[in-house]
């Protein structure tokens, strides 16, 4: 994104305010409820981790929901059964997710392209099967419940509104952290690895280590979101962390735009509206329609975005803003980005 530091901060405050303003009107808007706002924020935080993995290190993951699950199960088991403090449980989950991601990264980052995608897919499925099969610990298919609401000092997140406000704050922190990362030595190294591994290594970057660290960081985002999800729903079962949720994160990141820190929230908004939209609209036309037909809508959205906005909605919006800017200023001289576009057209 071409925003400088102050532009970025102003934008951040503006987006935060917009999110808060949504609370009183959410129930009146089509396809939106306060509960949906919570889902939107949870997905945005988790998908942000995937955006880092895909956008800033060029690695695809089809098993992201497993890390979401690590956080959720860690919180579920540690707070409900052992009565740990929610923050401690969340931190434990995050550390476990990071370690798991680093270990997985060691193995799968020897692979490339389709093989890498297949390996992460397999990892996600293994996690799902283990959570389902390990009855004594996870409650198997039935899952495990009795998770208390998230509490921190005097703060207790026991309503949709309080949960959403808290998540919205966490999301902003996540965006700032991601932005801090991009504008720094390790972040630039990750972008370099995504663009050319051989050139990144030629300046001294340990490519395998860089990939492992971004994979671990992405897993931490997912795990934190998973922990908060567990507190919110008070009950977790394997189906929330299988293949479909992993695909949903992938669609969120891609539709939103993987090279912008704003991509995940944008993509999450689209996916939540699509999910609710199809759930409400489709039964009106097809009587007795059941099943996860929202996946059709995801697929459609993905194809449309990849065809017309390869840099995702965030990339598309950035282009619109830039065009508006040029139009206002009368384009005295070509900007680098305009030249870039002409070069690409050639």
């Amino acid at each position: 994104m071409g925003l400088n530091r102050w532009g970025f901060l102003a934008f951040l405050v503006g987006i935060f305010g917009l999110g808060v303003l949504l609370i009183p009107v959410a129930d009146a808007l089509p396809f939106l409820t306060r509960a949906n706002l919570v889902v939107f924020a949870l997905h945005a935080i988790a998908a942000m981790g995937l955006t880092l993995v895909m956008g800033f290190a060029g690695q695809v993951s089809l098993g992201h929901a497993a890390f979401y699950g690590v956080g959720a199960y860690a919180t579920a088991l540690l707070t409900a059964k052992l009565e740990w403090h929610p923050l401690l449980a969340m931190a434990t989950g995050a550390v476990m997710a990071a370690i798991l991601a680093a270990l997985l990264g060691r193995v799968v980052f020897r692979l490339r392209g389709h093989f890498l995608a297949m390996a992460t897919l397999a990892f996600g499925l293994v996690f799902y099967v283990v959570m389902r099969g390990w009855d004594s610990l996870t409650g198997g298919n039935q899952g495990t419940g009795g998770i208390p609401a998230f509490a921190l000092g005097g703060l207790r997140l026991d309503s949709d509104t309080s949960m959403y406000l808290f998540l919205w704050g966490v999301l902003m922190v996540g965006i700032v952290a991601a932005r801090n990362l991009i504008k720094s030595r390790p972040g630039r190294a990750l972008v370099a690895v995504g663009a050319s591994e051989v050139a990144a290594a030629s300046v001294g970057i340990d490519v395998a280590r860089a990939k492992m660290s971004v994979f671990a960081l992405g897993a931490i985002y997912a795990s934190v979101a998973g922990s908060l999800y567990a507190h919110y729903v008070t009950y977790v079962s394997p189906d929330s962390f299988g293949l479909l949720p992993s695909l949903r994160f992938l669609v969120i990141s891609t539709v939103g735009g993987i090279d912008s820190v704003w991509g995940a929230p944008l993509g999450s908004a689209v996916v939540v509206l699509l999910t609710e939209g199809t759930r409400e609209v489709v039964p009106k036309f097809v009587s007795g329609a059941t099943g996860s037909y929202e996946i059709v809508a995801y697929g459609l959205a993905l194809v449309l975005v990849l065809l017309f906005l390869p840099r995702g909605l965030a990339g598309g919006l950035a282009l619109v803003v830039q065009r508006a800017n040029e139009w206002l200023r009368g384009r005295e001289r070509p900007t680098p980005a305009a030249v870039l576009e002409e070069v690409e057209l050639r």
Partner: protein, 254 residues
């Protein structure tokens, strides 16, 4: 002890010997050219030195230290920088960012320090930006510093490749055809820059086709053909070597 010593290096791709017992040296403060017909093994030799390829036999020593088979990033962290024939620039990163990435081995800010914006991040960013500004000015890239590299004309892109390598503050610079696709004047400028850098103590090894450049700016020439060193010496001597003429023009001409 030379800056770089390559001794008996052999690389085989299947049955093909891309390099066959190649021995050569690069001295600090000297520009050494690696020439030879297409397919002679010039780029292969650069790849062996920079750690992309592992030789089946032979040794690569840097300042007397055996670095044969070291991974690429470790070789780079010793101060061996390189450019690529096909540039391998970082997509839409700006020129300035390329040079900042180039300083990776000279900085140490970790992921956690960057996320939390701890003091080391700010100190190193400040130092790096200062050093990068100086390098940009020296190479005449200041006015395009904030352009994405893929918006630059080809000649400038090649220069960014060299600038990124120089940002490592290397002791040894490996250049793979730095003047390919450049105009006569641009090539001349690169030659002058290399001469200047060598005088400051940098050892340069370049793969080059531009004969004029080799003759006027290189101190030593190594000629490869079919993976073998067929001649080496000062430019004037190599130019008249019958083996070299034969390799370039075919047997009848010799």
């Amino acid at each position: 002890m030379s800056l770089l010593e390559v001794e008996g290096v052999t690389v085989a791709f299947g049955g093909l010997r891309a390099l066959d017992g190649v021995s050569m040296k690069v001295e600090a403060g000297k520009v050494t050219a690696l020439i030879g017909p297409n397919g002679a093994g010039k780029t292969t030799l650069l790849n062996v030195v920079s750690g992309i390829l592992r030789p089946v036999r032979g040794q690569v020593r840097f300042r007397g230290r055996d670095i044969t088979g070291w991974p690429q990033h470790k070789v780079a962290s010793l101060g061996i920088a390189r450019t690529f024939q096909d540039l391998q620039l970082f997509g839409n990163m700006t020129v300035r960012e390329h040079l900042l990435v180039g300083r990776y081995r000279l900085t140490h800010t970790s992921l956690v320090e960057a996320l939390l914006r701890l003091p080391r991040h700010f100190r190193e960013e400040r130092e790096s930006r200062k050093a990068v500004d100086a390098l940009l000015a020296r190479l005449g890239l200041s006015d395009v510093a904030d352009w994405p590299v893929n918006a630059l004309p080809y000649g400038k892109q090649r220069l960014v490749g060299v600038a990124r390598a120089l940002a490592l503050e290397p002791a040894l610079l490996l250049l793979d055809e730095p003047t390919a696709g450049l105009s006569g004047t641009e090539a001349e400028e690169v030659g002058q820059l290399l001469g200047l850098l060598a005088r400051e103590g940098l050892g340069v090894l370049l793969v080059e086709h531009h004969v004029g450049l080799v003759m006027s700016y290189c101190d030593w020439v190594v000629v490869l053909d079919h993976g073998l060193v067929i001649a080496q010496g000062v430019p004037e001597k190599v130019q008249s070597d019958p083996h070299v003429i034969e390799a370039y023009l075919g047997e009848e001409a010799a």
